[in-house]
């Protein structure tokens, strides 16, 4: 099974893909839209996207894509993000003058750069891609910040482990598939609903622009003791200063209580779409 990810082999998305779909062939994509395009055009069977990080926040571009495309969420997983200084074999720490990585990763290792002012932080398009580049170019005065996986894949060496500022650094990833039968089959392989104890549902809705509209929308869940795990607002295109709301709640769309909540919300919302129902990650 082919899985599209943004970034190179060895990226955190790659690790998340392997965790959710044990046997898979990863198809690296340069941009996030390409990941969605490939899945929509069925040139891959699934896609894995980062959706939020505990330090950086939500990946808004991917929230926007979830609305634009019709590719259901079929799974989620959480990875602890560990950043390492990675160099070509033979390069010593004292030789490093520049370190390449994705801007978000560079920002999560500020202490390292403060303690090593001789090293320049250099933004690059991808964490694993920066390891690939320093290896291909055979740089002897540069390193990359990426996962241990990336070091292994490109035959590079880890010089400093776990240099991230904050250990509470986790990223949540979604597994996306195409709607329909094929998708269902794959879900069963990935995380069998029959054994999964808890489900989560992600939806997006808009409300009428009236006082109390969001409050009434949330009542659909609160009055039924359904636990919300996330709310995210995004601008509504064409209606300045109005918003879309993305909600995650604990529960399965086929559970009668959740079904009532969704019917209740549908009666209040201008627009409501279920983006996916999937086994909750641990």
């Amino acid at each position: 099974m082919k899985v599209a990810i943004q970034g190179e082999l060895g990226s955190f998305s790659h690790e998340a893909a392997e965790r959710m779909l044990q046997k898979c062939t990863v198809v690296p994509c340069a941009r996030s839209a390409e990941v969605f395009d490939r899945l929509e055009q069925a040139s891959v069977g699934a896609a894995v996207i980062p959706i939020e990080n505990t330090l950086h926040g939500s990946v808004h571009e991917n929230y926007d894509h979830l609305l634009k495309y019709d590719l259901p969420i079929r799974g989620e997983t959480f990875l602890r993000i560990v950043h390492n200084i990675i160099v070509p074999p033979g390069v010593k720490f004292s030789q490093i003058r520049r370190v390449y990585s994705h801007p978000v990763a560079l920002n999560q290792c500020r202490r390292f750069f403060e303690e090593n002012p001789q090293i320049e932080r250099t933004p690059f398009y991808d964490t694993a891609g920066s390891v690939k580049m320093v290896m291909e170019e055979g740089l002897i005065d540069a390193g990359a910040i990426a996962s241990a996986n990336a070091a292994e894949i490109y035959g590079a060496k880890i010089l400093r482990r776990s240099i991230e500022d904050d250990r509470e650094n986790f990223t949540r990833f979604f597994l996306l598939e195409r709607p329909g039968r094929g998708a269902r089959r794959v879900v069963l392989q990935a995380s069998p609903p029959r054994t999964a104890k808890r489900f989560k549902t992600t939806l997006v809705f808009t409300t009428r622009n009236l006082p109390g509209a969001l409050f009434r929308s949330l009542s659909a869940f609160a009055l039924r003791d359904i636990s919300l795990t996330k709310i995210e607002s995004r601008p509504l295109r064409g209606k300045p200063w109005e918003y879309l709301f993305y909600l995650d709640f604990m529960g399965h769309v086929n559970d009668p209580v959740c079904r009532n909540a969704l019917n209740h919300l549908a009666g209040l919302a201008d627009m409501l779409r279920i983006l996916g129902c999937y086994p909750a990650g641990e």
Copy 2:
């Protein structure tokens, strides 16, 4: 009065600063944190920051800074964002091979780049800064995307006006000042509270991580018919998958109804901070 902004003279923040504080001297800063640092250290008397755009969404870095620093919001304004192709005088459209601008601006002019595939889009740190650069370098095969103001300030020429994809492109800016007496004096100059018809309040809070906690928090406003204009969630540092909520509501903190709502919310929230109360922008 000196006002710190992120970006160069002629940026949209510069225009917003002039609109909110008629007479001011703009102090350009490279990074957003520098804007907050300068105001905190009192090397400027105010700061103007972008907080959200109707297409791009919220400027999350600035939401995080509002929490980290103690610099009250004293005003807001909305600018319609108009992007133009700007070149050094004498350069013809047919000569342009590259266009520089901030990545967000480049993304808002996709149609222009689709219709002109011979022109390469080149990310730069600032819209107005890209005009400054093409002028200083005297480039004859490059242009910049920025405001008409930027063209005027740097003596450049507008070749194509209003090339943005979507006319519903507005940015909301906050005016920040230092807490205390000095600040109050300035507010009165900027937008006299006595004549302003409507006020808005921005706050940030956290809830206990229980089902219905956000719903109960919003009840403080909904049960009093107070209109919320924005809710934004951000990750809570040190508590993975818990969130801070930023709220904007229509009303003045000294209005008895709003005061009751805030007391009600304070009783439910783990943390509550008022970030500012200011005349609502038009």
